[in-house]
């Protein structure tokens, strides 16, 4: 059996510092059930990654590279990276690695991460994202314990998304999880990510953490729980017959979970319609301000223009020299409406708001997210969050939506 043992991997490990996770952010959409979260209509793997990633580095931790692990990236051609960096508020010069994989791939990304790397795992069904930031020192230490790569394609998805399921869960369990675990010669794990709760419980020492997802984010969710519990030991990530194990030595980690309670996705109607066209010229001009949530400010002026624009002085001279400055992400609903007639191409009903952003004299027009249509009223508080507002002629059109504050948040 072509398995590499933990010892061999361990030799590689010694050549670099042991990655230490000092902060973690998680995100679960509010939709679905407690057991199975589903994407909102305006969410995809990138918006989930941004939510989790922003939580992980909320304190301003310096990020030098981002690894995004998922099997559900929205774009195969073109790039998800620019939106990811803009949404995270990171420098567009940073390296972004879009890594295709499940729970083992995310744990591999973490155990091989250099300091100042943000590793984000994302899944869309069940939906959830978790991001771990590897700092310079301290925190929870991650060491590779095992890696097994075997082929057991019990479920396949090809380049255009066609899925084929072999239809034999017992085979998958026996010749996947169990066979690879035995080939890896590892201790009894504290947590197993990538398989359902019942299978995980049967393999773990004590009760394993309950994980909301099954793919790339699952191992990071498990790490989050181990860090919170201060539980040392082995964390195994599995995907079919592939397995990666890391040994976790807990230390102080700032954990920021954004995991609102689950509720059913509102029902709605979506009539078919011609594709909403997109102007890529307009998309390109708006991108920085729109996805980074920034306004223009001209030299010598305190006024913010949103969207940014050229200005004319009283004597007719042109000013093109504005700089982009971040806008507040919190605000108050100035007015709102809920569209209830079926609008072809849009899921209705939906709510729109004009939001007065805090203390800058700037308003934003946005759709409401994370709340049932019609639930928001004038005066309600909330925050602006990155969402995939539309898909236009095959292009995901990202922008900000208004998420009302709930009692829980």
């Amino acid at each position: 059996m072509a398995a590499r043992t933990g010892n061999e991997v361990g030799n590689e490990d010694r050549r670099q510092a042991v990655p230490c996770v000092i902060s973690i952010g998680t995100y679960l959409p509010c939709w679905g059930s407690t057991r199975r979260r589903v994407l909102g209509d305006d969410e995809d793997a990138v918006t989930l990654a941004v939510q989790a990633g922003r939580s992980a580095v909320e304190a301003g931790e310096p990020v030098e590279r981002v690894v995004l692990v998922s099997r559900d990236l929205p774009l195969m051609d073109s790039s998800n990276a620019a939106v990811l960096l803009a949404g995270l508020g990171l420098d567009p010069e940073l390296e972004v690695i879009e890594r295709l994989g499940g729970a083992p791939a995310a744990l591999d990304a973490l155990s091989s991460a250099r300091p100042r790397t943000l590793v984000i795992g994302v899944d869309t069904d069940p939906a959830g994202a978790a991001a771990a930031y590897v700092g310079d020192r301290g925190g929870t230490q991650i060491r590779t314990a095992a890696r097994v790569t075997r082929s057991l394609p019990a479920r396949t998805r090809n380049a255009v998304g066609a899925v084929h399921d072999y239809g034999d869960p017992r085979l998958l369990r026996e010749r996947g999880l169990v066979a690879s675990l035995s080939a890896a010669w590892v201790d009894t794990p504290v947590a197993v990510a990538g398989v359902d709760e019942k299978q995980a419980a049967g393999l773990c020492r004590g009760e394993p953490p309950r994980l909301p997802t099954l793919g790339a984010s699952a191992g990071l969710f498990a790490l989050t729980s181990m860090a919170e519990w201060g539980a040392p030991g082995l964390l195994v990530g599995v995907e079919q017959a592939n397995l990666s194990g890391i040994s976790v030595t807990p230390g102080p980690v700032a954990v920021r979970r954004v995991e609102p309670s689950a509720r059913p996705l509102p029902e709605g109607e979506c009539l078919p319609a011609a594709d909403l066209p997109i102007s890529l010229a307009a998309y390109d001009r708006a991108f920085e301000a729109k996805v980074r949530w920034e306004a223009g400010r001209h030299a010598g002026s305190d006024e913010l223009d949103f969207p940014p624009r050229y200005r004319l002085a009283a004597d007719g001279t042109l000013s093109t020299g504005y700089t982009l400055v971040p806008l507040p992400r919190t605000g108050t609903v100035h007015t709102t409406t809920t569209v209830r007639i079926p609008v072809p191409g849009l899921k209705t009903p939906y709510s729109l708001v004009l939001v007065e952003l805090d203390e800058v004299g700037v308003r934003a027009l946005a759709r409401v997210t994370g709340a049932d249509p019609g639930a928001v009223g004038i005066g309600d508080r909330g925050r602006m969050v990155l969402r995939r507002v539309a898909v236009r002629a095959g292009v995901p059109d990202y922008g900000y939506a208004f998420e009302p504050e709930t009692e829980a948040s």
Binding site: V339, P344, L352, V362, L365, G374, I378
Partner: protein, 386 residues
């Protein structure tokens, strides 16, 4: 500036004219207009035309008009100023005549919304109006945009949905008597208030019916008006006003600054005050716009527009009847034609032979708002006898 008269006015019914194209509606409206000219109107007297159309049905609008009228030598200017197109066409023709450049001009407006499938109407007609990168993908259709204004207005003014319903009931009552209106039936308050919601606070009866139609006016300089009629209607004032296009930039949602600006210019030019108006055609694209516009046009103090409805002042028979034609609400709203058709109604009102006549009406005001809410045009007309 020379004084300018309206010597003829006419229109097609507003309807879903599936069987008629824009090239049919244009000569129909012109013929109805020419027939209203007391001493007759030789078509060759036209020196220029201003054609208001928001869409470009069947191609280049100015040429389509000249072709449809059989007047290839007529210089035609196409006016497109969103829903304010009609009254802006009047304004431009007035300037040409008042300046002395032209003696007799045609103002005609037409649009053909129902060339588009009902399913595609919102997408096709609304996508002109929104920023391509920032707004169009949000689903900010006209009902939603106006609803953002009206909800804030209701929040601050203390008016309620019942006041919107009063506008709908009133304008349906007026429109039921207008043979050219699309929706010729009355409704009750209960029907208005219990109708399915389009975008709150608007129910179905707070919204206009999508319609086709055309309307025409013949304008003439004072010096030549007597050739056509001894009872001209005078154009006393015109005004155009604008406001920010993006909702993000509108600071006070409880007023339409475009209307305030247009009305101020029109009243200044006319040397008149809001209290001088006897009858008005106000842009009730949604019922709440009529309510808010009472204040912007100076008919009511701020946040007191609802009192005009509560007292019946704006019904025919009241002190200041508004939309005796039924308004956009009942008559229909082919945008290019709408403002022109308002002036057709006022022409008839001020000459004393309207379908739903306002007793003794001497001065009338027509008002459009569009863009959405970024442009307004106001025209003030005075009846003969001055």
């Amino acid at each position: 500036m020379r004084r300018v008269a309206v010597v003829g006015a006419g229109m097609t019914p507003f309807a879903e004219h599936f069987a008629l194209g824009i090239k049919d509606l244009l000569p129909m409206a012109f013929a109805d207009c020419a027939a209203s000219v007391d001493k007759g109107f030789p078509i060759a007297d036209l020196e220029a035309a201003w054609f208001g159309a928001m869409g470009t049905t069947d191609g280049f609008p100015a040429g389509v008009l000249a072709d449809a009228l059989g007047l290839p030598e007529l210089p035609v200017t196409h006016i497109e100023n969103s829903c304010a197109t009609g009254n802006d066409a009047v304004r431009n023709a007035l300037y040409a005549i008042a300046s002395g450049a032209v003696d007799v001009a045609l103002v005609i407006g037409a649009d053909k919304l129902r060339e588009t499938a009902q399913r595609d109407l919102l997408g096709e007609w609304e996508s002109f109006n929104r920023d391509k990168a920032w707004d169009v993908q949000l689903g900010m259709f006209a009902p939603a945009g106006f609803a953002l204004h009206v909800n804030r207005y209701l929040h601050e003014s203390g008016a309620g949905r019942e006041h919107l319903a009063m506008v709908a009931v009133k304008n349906h009552r007026h429109g039921a008597r207008n043979p050219k209106a699309r929706l010729r039936f009355e409704i009750t308050m209960e029907q208005a208030l219990s109708a399915p919601v389009v975008a709150d606070p608007f129910g179905v009866y707070d919204c206009v019916p999508q319609s086709d139609g055309a309307a025409a006016l013949i304008l003439a300089a004072e010096e030549v008006a007597g050739r056509y009629t001894d009872r001209p209607v005078w154009v006393r004032g015109v005004g155009l006003g604008l406001d920010s296009v993006m909702y993000q930039h509108k600071r006070d949602m409880t007023t339409f600054p475009a209307t305030v600006r247009a009305a101020r210019r029109a009243f200044d030019m006319a040397g008149l005050r809001p209290a001088d108006i006897d009858v008005a055609e106000v842009h009730d694209y949604f019922t709440g716009i009529e309510l808010m516009s009472y204040e912007d046009l100076g008919f009511a103090d701020r946040f007191e527009g609802r009192k005009l409805l509560e007292t019946g002042a704006t019904s025919v028979g009241g002190a200041l009847p508004v939309n005796p034609s039924g308004g956009l609400k009942s008559k229909g709203h082919p945008p290019g034609a709408t403002g022109v058709a308002q002036c057709v109604e006022l022409f008839e009102q001020l000459r004393g032979h309207a379908a739903d006549q306002v007793d003794g009406a001497r001065i009338g005001l027509a008002h459009n708002l569009g863009g959405p809410t970024a442009v307004a045009a106001v025209t003030i007309l005075e009846g003969p006898g001055r």
